[in-house]
């Protein structure tokens, strides 16, 4: 039974994966790994890379895909495996040239790019920066504000639950706290943005 599951889980279609990523279904990640990681890992390991580096590159490539799906109207005009492979290859080449390994990588840099993924990577890096600012702001906000905001906006807890969880005297008090936290977060976020 478990074997059958494994087999069917490997043969998941590209559209299913894209739909899974779009709705934030984290279970799809396992399938992404099983379907696409081996070939990319092989490419990187056979080009001066370690298995851990392969994992890093692969994760970044998947994030490129994630950003593409969540931030833009994503049109699948190649196979997902091709897209991920091209992105990983591009990323790995960049990393290698940063390391100064260019001489030894003729075998993968010689090929023409199958897909023009440069734009997608650029896009991904902008989005990454943007969200990094939010993460940074949240980090600077500190506790308990961070948890309070997450509980309310992400986990969708009711004001009543939050009042109990944080031990406020009443829900109005909690509302005031939430407002203050949010204002602080906005302040931090936008000042950081101006600084840059």
């Amino acid at each position: 039974m478990s074997k059958i599951k494994n087999i069917s889980s490997i043969e998941v279609s590209d559209t299913e994966i894209i739909a899974g990523i779009a709705v934030g279904d984290n279970r799809i990640i396992n399938k992404i790994y099983k379907s696409f990681f081996p070939s990319i890992a092989h490419m990187i390991v056979s080009n001066n890379g370690s298995n851990d580096e392969a994992k890093d590159v692969f994760q970044e490539a998947v994030m490129v895909l994630y950003d593409k799906i969540t931030q833009q109207q994503f049109e699948l005009n190649s196979k997902l495996s091709t897209f991920l492979y091209a992105v990983s290859r591009r990323l790995w080449l960049k990393q290698l040239s940063r390391k100064g390994h260019t001489l030894n990588t003729t075998d993968i840099s010689d090929f023409e790019d199958i897909l023009h993924v440069e734009e997608d990577i650029q896009e991904h890096q902008e989005i990454e920066n943007q969200f990094e600012q939010m993460n940074e702001a949240m980090y600077q906000l500190g506790e308990p504000c961070q948890t309070l905001l997450k509980d309310f906006y992400i986990k969708n807890l009711s004001m009543q639950e939050i009042t109990e969880k944080f031990g406020y005297t009443n829900s109005d008090n909690a509302k005031t706290q939430k407002y203050k936290c949010l204002q602080r977060l906005k302040k931090i976020f936008f000042t950081n943005k101006i600084k840059e």
């Binding site: 990523i21 984290n26 790994y33 994030m63 950003d67 969540t70 969200f131 939010m134 905001l149 407002y179």
Partner: protein, 365 residues
């Protein structure tokens, strides 16, 4: 309305806590107050960014967590499977290619007449000399190889001399013997052994490759002239159907063979030979073919492979011609063929008894 109260209201709206009329009231309020509408839109954007950031973070975390579960990929299996599938895909192509290659090779060979050439080149005429020591020779060759493993260059050129056996018979009582040219061709030394087991050294006086005849003379000092030759030589053509017989040495003992003369020409229409129907074997070469009266009508030379009872004997007339062609200086006195037949009155068994003294094993080294 204070700003924080509006935000609270907006949050309720965004979470969908407001329904129906309440939601409509919020939207109406935003329309009525553009400054609050802008506050709402920035707030909404900010909250969305916050949500997306969190969703992204959780996805990223899940991705990183999954990575720890993934083991180093096993490429070997993948690779093997690929090779196998590659092979199975090409198997049919390979088979077809091989078949086409084979067919074209053999077609070409057939079209260019290769096979007919082969047939012509490897004659089915078989000379009837006997390899006497093939087993022994193989063993000694093998021993030599073993001995020469270390000093290989020294004696590679030495080849064991081939050792053949055949039959020969006396032309004259003073030691002229006739046998086949192919028997003595390339011989180092020739020994003739009579039926009593005595061997005499002989030398080639004359050889006629065309007629496949060789005239030897016994030069051994122990050789004494024999009694008078009992048979005569019949120079005229013998008729087809004549009852004939031979004595030869296909093994170390004299073997009698009997048959009839089946054609006036030999192998492939060769006019110097008869076709005879006598069971002959390697070793019979050079044996006399006699008719019922004890006249030598031919000398056995070979047979046709793959055809039953097709042996060939060189006509006596050719022998006489060869003898006449021998230069005088290579002879010690003339060869005078016997013309007094002492066999014609005797029964076959008596003839054979008398004949045996004049028919020798020819051993060639």
């Amino acid at each position: 309305m204070q700003r924080h109260q509006f935000i609270e209201w907006a949050d309720q709206y965004l979470r969908g806590d407001l329904t129906g009329v309440d939601a409509q009231a919020f939207e109406d309020y935003c329309k009525a107050n553009p400054e609050y509408a802008e506050i709402f839109s920035t707030h909404q954007d900010f909250i969305n960014t916050l949500k997306e950031a969190e969703a992204r973070n959780s996805f990223k975390a899940a991705l990183a967590e999954e990575a720890t579960k993934v083991e180093a990929p096993t490429h070997k299996g993948d690779f093997g499977a690929k090779v196998i599938s590659f092979w199975s895909r090409l198997q049919i192509n390979t088979g077809v290619a091989a078949a086409v290659a084979l067919i074209s090779v053999f077609t070409t060979l057939w079209l260019t007449g290769y096979f007919t050439d082969v047939k012509k080149a490897t004659s089915d005429y078989s000379a009837l000399r006997r390899e006497m020591n093939s087993v022994k020779r193989n063993v000694t060759a093998q021993n030599k190889v073993i001995q020469n493993i270390n000093n290989s260059d020294k004696s590679n050129k030495e080849t064991t001399p081939t050792h053949f056996g055949a039959t020969g018979f006396l032309l004259t009582k003073d030691g002229y013997v006739v046998t086949n040219y192919h028997v003595v061709n390339g011989a180092d030394s020739i020994h003739l052994q009579n039926n009593k087991g005595r061997a005499f050294r002989a030398e080639i006086i004359h050889s006629d490759a065309e007629k496949d005849l060789a005239i030897l003379r016994i030069v051994d000092s122990s050789f004494r002239n024999t009694k008078a030759i009992p048979y005569t030589f019949k120079k005229q053509l013998t008729d087809v159907g004549e009852d004939i017989y031979t004595i030869g040495f296909p093994r170390d003992e004299a073997v009698y063979g009997q048959g009839y003369l089946s054609s006036n020409t030999g192998y492939a229409g060769d006019t110097i030979a008869y076709q005879i129907s006598i069971p002959v074997n390697p070793g019979n070469s050079g044996g006399p073919v006699l008719d019922a009266q004890g006249n030598v009508v031919g000398i056995i030379s070979g047979k046709q492979k793959g055809i039953d009872g097709a042996a060939f004997a060189i006509k006596t007339k050719e022998l006489v011609e060869t003898l006449n062609r021998i230069p005088q200086e290579s002879l010690k006195g003339n060869i005078v063929l016997n013309n007094k037949n002492s066999l014609n009155k005797l029964s076959r068994t008596e003839q054979i008894k008398k004949l045996q003294d004049f028919i020798y094993i020819v051993k060639v080294y």
